[in-house]
């Protein structure tokens, strides 16, 4: 990686500096694979795989979306199916006090307060593309904690093959939960390998500010190579388990919102292919890229699988 890439604004990073990154990461695959296998041992090498190594992974043409855009165009069915209405409705959320229960197949289950979690793990900036299955995308400067950092502390057992995430269920605050739009509470899931991947973060803020309510305060998942609906908001429970969790959207329409839901321009659901997308703020559509442009980092997770039929 070119020296100081992390410390520079993205418009100062040249495309020529970005290409070598993929080569750079190939050397790191060993560590990531080790992490992906769920090896719980706390070696210093694993630590390196978890944090601080990913850089910004931007593609030429990527520009940060504005705070205004990011906080006024939100899919958040707990409030409304209207993306423009969420910012106003979500003002009642009250993201403090908030605690998260980490439970299931772990040696040390715990319930941790959000502020304590942030103090212990010092969130890092991660600039990611977010691709929504509705056909739009954004570039967002998240602040977050690599999920593997958190999971490593609770020591997953050998039976932990999946990680289930459950969002807050509170119809008093979440107006949208008063209607059976989806099966509440919102539930999502990852394989343990995906959860331990260093790109996967629990985001606690964006643009250097605490997570805005409408973006899923106080803590949400961000999995940049999957469609946005995988990145569950307002998490209260993280459960490690042996069975694949039944996710909310896959119950609404299994074919369109599968468990894996990797960004893939070759796959088509009921509303057609995902071959193009609108970058928020732009009028002309862009071509969608496999794994949302993170293939170099994540393709190895699906080695040996037919990615075009992995729903």
């Amino acid at each position: 990686m070119p020296v100081g890439l992390l410390n520079r604004r993205i418009d100062q990073i040249f495309p020529s500096e970005i290409t070598p990154e993929s080569i750079y990461y190939q050397r790191r695959r060993f560590f990531k694979l080790a992490a992906a296998l769920g090896v719980a041992a706390c070696s210093s090498k694993l630590e390196a795989a978890c944090s601080g190594i990913m850089g910004n992974l931007l593609i030429p043409g990527d520009e940060l979306n504005t705070y205004e855009e990011i906080t006024n165009y939100n899919n958040f069915y707990e409030y409304s199916t209207d993306k423009r209405a969420v910012a106003m409705l979500a003002q009642n959320l009250k993201p403090r006090p908030w605690s998260i229960s980490i439970e299931g197949e772990v040696e040390q289950p715990k319930i941790i307060d959000i502020d304590q979690l942030i103090r212990e793990h010092k969130p890092q900036e991660r600039i990611y593309r977010l691709r929504c299955i509705e056909g739009w995308s954004m570039v967002i400067p998240w602040e977050g904690i690599p999920l593997c950092d958190i999971l490593r502390r609770v020591q997953p057992t050998s039976r932990a093959r999946y990680v289930a995430f459950v969002a807050l269920h509170d119809p008093a605050r979440f107006y949208g939960q008063r209607r059976p739009t989806l099966s509440w509470p919102y539930t999502e899931g990852l394989t343990i390998a995906e959860a331990m991947h260093p790109l996967t973060i629990l985001a606690t803020g964006l643009y250097g500010k605490p997570m805005p309510n409408q973006n899923g305060a106080p803590i949400r998942l961000v999995v940049p190579w999957k469609y946005g609906f995988k990145s569950i908001k307002c998490i209260v429970t993280i459960r490690l388990q042996e069975q694949q969790p039944l996710t909310t959207w896959s119950q609404a329409s299994p074919k369109d919102y599968g468990f894996y839901a990797n960004v893939n321009p070759n796959m088509a659901g009921w509303r057609g292919t995902q071959s193009r997308e609108t970058r928020i703020g732009e009028l002309r559509k862009r071509e969608t890229i496999l794994f949302n442009g993170y293939a170099d980092q994540v393709a190895h997770l699906y080695a040996g699988l037919n990615i075009d039929s992995l729903n």
């Binding site: 199916t81 739009w136 959207w249 609404a252 088509a268 057609g272 071959s275």
Partner: protein, 264 residues
């Protein structure tokens, strides 16, 4: 021939010329007001576009707003006949003074033409912007969309069905097509169904919006089916009758009579 009070219409030909002119002037003013109201949504969209305030997803807004207005106006066109019939009936039953006179809106039936044309105007913008702004005139992309997006097929079909209706909306085409004009304009029903299907199919699970439109259309079509079943007169409103500027041409009265007879 049965001519119920519901279907009675003014015998334009026998009215004095002054009354005729006044009626036509009223109709002209109404058409102007309707047209102005109908272009309001596109004016707002244009204003927002000029001020770069189309919101975070301008393409989505530019595509969706005209599509929605095309559908709304189409439903208003389909509302004219049932609304007039039902209001007249209610007024007659309740016996409110001047009630029937207030309710029996001949002008509403006549406004279906400008409203229908406005609907098609928005449909043209909707499809035009889709081909231009979304597809960038990439015809391969259009073929791809048609082959794997059912909602695009439904929407295109609705548009193609509306096109001949817009073209033949003039007095001249009415005259030329005679009774086939009405047969042709029956296409508004399948077009409306396809337009609603288009909206339902493109929307995500959990979004209630398109189902409101589906319900509205179901009520409007349901009324016609029930009315046809009960043999209520002039259910499939004869646009050839009242929509024509009957007072201007000789022979309009005759045609209207024959329409009534046909449906009674």
């Amino acid at each position: 021939m049965r001519v119920s009070i519901l279907t009675r219409s003014i015998d334009w030909a026998s009215l004095p010329a002054r009354a005729l002119r006044a009626a036509n002037q009223r109709y002209f003013v109404l058409t102007c007001i309707t047209s102005l109201l109908a272009v309001l949504p596109i004016a707002i969209l244009g204003w927002d576009a000029a001020n770069k305030s189309l919101g975070p997803n301008p393409l989505e807004r530019l595509l969706r707003a005209p599509g929605r207005w095309a559908l709304i106006l189409l439903l208003i066109v389909l509302l004219a006949t049932p609304l007039r019939r039902v209001l007249t009936h209610v007024m007659r039953k309740t016996g409110i003074r001047y009630g029937r006179r207030l309710a029996d809106w001949n002008w509403m039936i006549r406004l279906r033409r400008p409203l229908g044309l406005a609907s098609f105007f928005y449909a043209v913008i909707h499809v035009g912007w889709y081909v231009w702004l979304d597809l960038r005139f990439n015809w391969d992309e259009l073929i791809r969309d048609l082959s794997n997006k059912p909602y695009i097929v439904a929407g295109m079909a609705a548009f193609l069905l509306l096109a001949p209706l817009a073209v033949t909306s003039t007095d001249g085409w009415m005259r030329r097509l005679k009774r086939n004009w009405k047969r042709l304009h029956f296409l508004i029903y399948p077009a409306a169904i396809l337009a609603v299907l288009h909206f339902v199919w493109l929307s995500k699970e959990g979004v209630r919006d398109p189902y409101d439109y589906a319900l509205a259309l179901a009520v409007l079509l349901g009324y016609r089916i029930v009315a046809l079943w009960l043999r209520l007169p002039e259910i499939m409103e004869s646009p050839g009758g009242e929509a024509v500027d009957g007072g201007v041409r000789v022979g309009a009265t005759e045609r209207r009579d024959s329409n009534v007879g046909e449906l009674s």
